[in-house]
Symmetry: C2
Subunit: 230 residues, 2 copies
């Protein structure tokens, strides 16, 4: 199937690449429109008008296509966050941008979120967000939070806090997404409120890291949160 | 099948009750030994030497048997925690007792924890710990945390903190159990360490609730945590 009748070997490559891109596009649309459970390799092959074997050649399983979805969502997240980050140097405002644009990307999937969660939550699942298979997508979001922290001007937090902060923020993002799956309020407004309250609290707490009395408990708290993700 | 040959109607009831108890016992043992996925109504019926129909008469589905398991685990938890609670009036020590005896009850299930989590994590699942179906088991653990807080002598925390504390503590218990599912360290030692660090932090933070400067942010933090569970 991947031997071509064309003489030019670049044509061969291009055809395979085109097939792969078509399968990927159909799968991403299917996850958005049908969810996780109803999306099957067979259905994707059918809609791309190629064989199941060809589909498996490009994507060994449905979960490999979920990884494409994760990457797609995180790249859209980065594309939405970065222009907004360029406009602010306040740390809390920058974190608000990353968290809010992250929720925006999840929104279209809310109806299917429980089935994605069931499939992804097991530590043995290859589509668990913390699995080795999901590392490329997780790195995008880790990079975004590091960028949000590093690009803040006049950051009020001591260096000892700066190091574990991105890990703690990524864990916060995963827990916020977990809360969002359970959120039945219109437009998941409760999740937005929870985020706003969390950010307000962080704004109150960060200057306290300079008080000697509080430095130890706050440092403990941050280390505790960061250690959970590690 | 439920009409008896015996004349005495109490015999009928007793036989039905005995069948129910036998099915329940076999199911609880099966969940402990085989896990969630491999336990089926058919298998339980077979081992109890009754028909699948009889089994369904007593327990409409496998998930009804999981609710029996939840209750069994929480009642064992209460039985383990209460004698220890009687021996201490320090708030943090009392919380340590409830959290530690809770983890003790989970320990035998660790090998099967990922499959229980996958089945229970969806907000649509009837065995989700926060579902209406799971309310009786959740009430046992809520009662335990309330007891731990209310029975503490010379509690250092103002009344405004006392009210939302049990809800926040139950949420902490659920999140600790989530972390425990992911914990691959021998004997889930990392979960115990996380718990110890969390309790140490709580011991540092509680006296701070009396400082006017910190009362607002700490109250905010507690309300935030409690609002997640509500």
């Amino acid at each position: 199937m991947f031997s071509s009748d064309a003489a030019d070997p670049t044509t061969v490559l291009t055809k395979s690449e085109r097939t792969r891109a078509a399968l990927r596009g159909i799968a991403l649309r299917s996850f958005r429109e049908r969810g996780y459970d109803a999306t099957t390799i067979r259905l994707i092959a059918q809609e791309a008008d190629v064989s199941v074997g060809t589909t498996h050649y490009h994507f060994a399983s449905k979960n490999h296509l979920v990884q494409e979805l994760y990457l797609d969502v995180q790249e859209r997240h980065r594309d939405a966050a970065e222009p907004a980050l360029a406009a602010s140097t306040d740390l809390i405002d920058r974190l608000a941008i990353v968290y809010r644009t992250g929720l925006d990307q999840l929104t279209p999937f809310h109806a299917f979120a429980p089935e994605f969660l069931s499939a992804a939550v097991s530590p043995r699942s290859p589509i668990n967000p913390l699995s080795p298979e999901s590392a490329p997508a997780l790195q995008v979001i880790e990079g975004l939070f590091r960028e949000a922290v590093d690009g803040a001007a006049g950051a009020p937090l001591p260096d000892e806090f700066r190091a574990s902060l991105p890990d703690a923020l990524v864990l916060g993002h995963l827990l916020l997404a977990l809360f969002w799956v359970y959120d039945r309020s219109p437009g998941q407004q409760r999740t937005r409120t929870l985020l706003d309250r969390g950010l307000r609290l962080l704004r109150l707490a960060l200057p306290l890291t300079r008080l000697p009395l509080l430095r130890t408990p706050l440092r403990e708290l941050l280390d505790l949160v960061a250690s959970v993700k590690a």
